[in-house]
Amino acid sequence: MSETNLKAPPKILILATSSCGYTGADATGQAHLSYPPNTYIIDVPSPCVFPENFYYRCLERGIDGIIVMSCGVECPFEGAYERLAAKLDRVSLGLKKRGIKQGRLKLCSVCTVCTKAFLKEVNEMNDLLIKEQEESS
């Protein structure tokens, strides 16, 4: 890739819930399963805390893709997941309006032992962003 495309690898921000996604990422590491290093995981007790403009800001500042790894319906915070899902739907529409590929933001559920799901989400996002980089160059 580097010979045809001098761009740095895409930066993927992973907002991972403390009780599920973050622990799932740890489990992936504990199993020594490999995934691309251009992934930066931030521990978030509840991603509901982020207003919609937080996501736009991340993408404007230079994050290429965002994965929100939540607990899904297992969310330990009552009522928070439904609000999160609705919010991300709105952000997704907002991205479309701004001409940004909606795939650059993804909400998924990754449990504490979901190492395969973790890898799948990370790899899919990485492939998508690299493809996009190649198309734009």
């Binding site: 020594h32 290093p37 509840s46 805390v49 928070a80 609000r83 032992v113």
Partner: protein, 610 residues
């Protein structure tokens, strides 16, 4: 150069800006074999706000901790970044180090450069670059940390023990003796749980009634313990120090709901026996196929002195035992149960329980033919191997089957000597298919998780893939649930025998006592805080809040603003996202901190280190 971090709000006066110490761990090679730790340390030293940057072979060890302690004592550092393993392993180690040295323990941020860097990544260059980025993001957050204090909540001096089997009984007795009031709720009419179905117990042959009367007596005569039998927990809510449970009393005389307030909960709901699938090994199709518990009851019911065991009016000449029924199941061979899962796990107690019964059978009926169909004999505990030894020496005939081909059971032809015909590929004779005649086939059924749906749903408890309740960490916190104040005792966690259930019950008791003995509990301070100067009183936050009573509006006109009840707020942050003026923040996890971390991640490392 563009230092994006400088675009973030931070203290105006440079002198007040916290000095950050960065401590990077080698983890004995776990990190440093992949990440160039020295390089990370050198680059971190150049970051704005960083006063010292150091490394140690094991940051968590005594010398590692001393290194941090010395910096505190010399007054070099205000806020701390430890770059090591994941937070969950050593956060308390480092936080208590700070606390011991008079530093607010919340002035700590960790960079996870092991589980999320050195372990999953392999190229040294990329891993080192990522480790540095993670450290930089942690420093960005650390510069914005402020001291926090735990939320102090008065705690009800009472433990609710759910389940009155051996574990619940033992836990209740211990707690009361430790000075904690106890309410014990048992679904059945009588205390004692599964052990009530048993007769003589391994490993010392004590009658179950003797053991139970000892445990029940201790609980019944203890004025500090209130027992509700025939009662069921129908709902439970609250938090550490202040749980409230709804209990439905089903007894005929005084049915009704009662409310129990408790500071901690010990879950001791035990297990349920695996119910063989219809026709599995002939169960429910052939009346002579019974479970181990049924068979033990048959033994008790049959007259003690008679030289012959009778079943369905006929003498029993040959008995077969099958191990691992409902345990060690494998995909493709065993059908999933009602929960859609197969039971991959071993039920731990059935091997010893089966051979214990086989030995008792042999003692009473020296001439009976006894067959044992097994995969591996797991008589692991103290004294357990003796039963295997005794059985082998007293002509119990062992047949080893493979999980892929369990024994097949059929009714024997009328002319046959025995009632049932068992066909098994016996690997002890090179997998040759043999036929064995028995009169009764005893299934050593495994243990299944009890139905804990109410408490799991109400308290949001974790269960493992096998359905049993899942402790926080098997070694660090083996009897604690992730929900603060909820503890585990006995077989609701995993299959356990009586000894092991009692040990875990006692272990849970001392943890509960540690929570309740002071009369108050200190909770994490990660709740929402209002900046009154910014609050415009829109009330949007109250509308958004999913929890009753966590937020409410006070004041009129210009004075109108929101107030938080920190004992109810769980820090979910839904309100934070809708506040138009950023007047609300979750303490310890503020939007400013998150944005600074993101900015640190997108900053080009070359620019920062140059």
């Amino acid at each position: 150069m563009t230092d994006l971090e400088d675009t973030q709000p931070k203290p105006e006066n440079k002198k007040d800006e916290p000095r950050v110490g960065v401590y990077v761990c080698h983890c004995g090679g776990n990190i440093s074999d992949v990440v160039d730790v020295e390089k990370v340390v050198a680059e971190a030293a150049q970051l704005p706000g960083v006063a010292v940057s150091r490394t140690n072979m094991f940051m968590c060890s005594d010398p590692g901790q001393k290194m941090i302690q010395e910096d505190i004592q010399k007054g070099l550092v205000d806020n701390f970044v430890v770059a090591a393993c994941t937070r969950s392993l050593h956060e308390t180690t480092f936080a208590s180090l700070l606390a011991r040295n008079g530093v607010n323990p919340y002035l700590l941020e960790q960079a996870n450069i092991r589980e999320q860097c050195s372990w999953p990544h392999h190229g040294q260059e990329a891993a080192t670059a990522k480790a540095f980025t993670l450290v930089r993001a942690a420093v960005a957050k650390a510069r914005r940390l402020v001291p926090l204090n735990p939320v102090r909540v008065e705690a009800t001096n009472c433990a609710l023990v759910i389940g009155g089997g051996v574990a619940g009984l033992r836990a209740a007795g211990d707690l009361s003796k430790l000075g904690i009031k106890v309410v014990l709720v048992e679904r059945e009419k009588e205390l004692g749980g599964f052990v009530r179905r048993l007769d003589a117990l391994y490993p010392d042959e004590e009658p179950a009634t003797a053991l139970l009367s000892r445990l029940v007596e201790a609980v019944r005569t203890d004025s500090g313990i209130v027992v509700h039998t025939n009662s069921e927990v129908t709902g439970i809510e609250g938090y550490i120090g202040n749980f409230t449970a709804q209990v439905r009393k089903n007894s005929d005389s005084k049915a009704g709901e009662i409310r129990i307030e408790a500071g901690t909960i010990i879950v001791a709901t035990g297990f349920r026996s695996y119910q063989p699938a219809k026709k599995e090994l002939g169960y429910q199709k052939l009346s002579r196929v019974v479970t181990l518990a049924d068979f033990n009851e048959l033994l008790v019911a049959s007259a003690g002195d008679s030289a012959v065991l009778e079943f369905e009016g006929k003498p029993v000449r040959s008995v077969g035992f099958v191990h691992c029924v409902g345990s060690r199941q494998i995909e493709g061979v065993h059908k999933p149960g009602e929960n859609g899962n197969i039971n991959r796990y071993c039920s731990r107690v059935c091997c010893t329980a089966t051979l214990h019964t086989a030995c008792r059978l042999r003692r009473r009926f020296p001439d009976m033919e006894i067959h044992d169909f097994y995969q591996d004999i797991r008589t692991y505990g103290r004294g357990h191997e003796d039963y295997y030894e005794q059985a082998s020496k007293s002509d119990v005939i062992f047949h080893r089957y493979r999980a892929e081909s369990p024994p097949r059971v059929a009714k024997a032809p009328a002319a046959d000597e025995y009632n049932l015909l068992i066909t098994v590929e016996d690997s002890l004779t090179a997998g040759e298919e043999i036929e064995v005649g028995v009169d009764i086939l005893v299934l050593a059924v495994g243990m299944m998780p009890a139905d804990n749906a109410t408490i799991i749903d109400n308290l949001k408890l974790a269960s493992s893939s096998d359905g049993f309740l899942q402790e926080v960490h098997p070694k660090l916190r083996p009897v604690e649930m992730a929900v603060n104040g909820v503890l585990l005792a006995g077989a609701c966690q995993a299959p356990k025998d009586i000894t092991e259930s009692c040990a875990s019950a006692s272990a849970a008791a001392i943890k509960a006592a540690a929570i309740l003995r002071k009369g108050y509990v200190e909770l994490d301070p990660y709740v929402v805080k209002v900046d009154l100067a910014r609050c415009e009183g829109t009330g949007l936050c109250v509308e958004e809040c999913p929890l009753d009573g966590a937020l409410h509006m006070v004041g009129e006109g210009n004075e109108r603003h929101v107030e938080v009840n920190p004992a109810i707020c769980n820090g979910c942050g839904c309100c934070v996202a809708v506040c138009p003026t950023r007047a609300l923040q979750v303490s310890g996890w503020t939007l400013d901190q998150y944005e600074a971390m993101v900015d640190a991640i997108v900053a080009d490392p070359v620019e920062v280190s140059s």
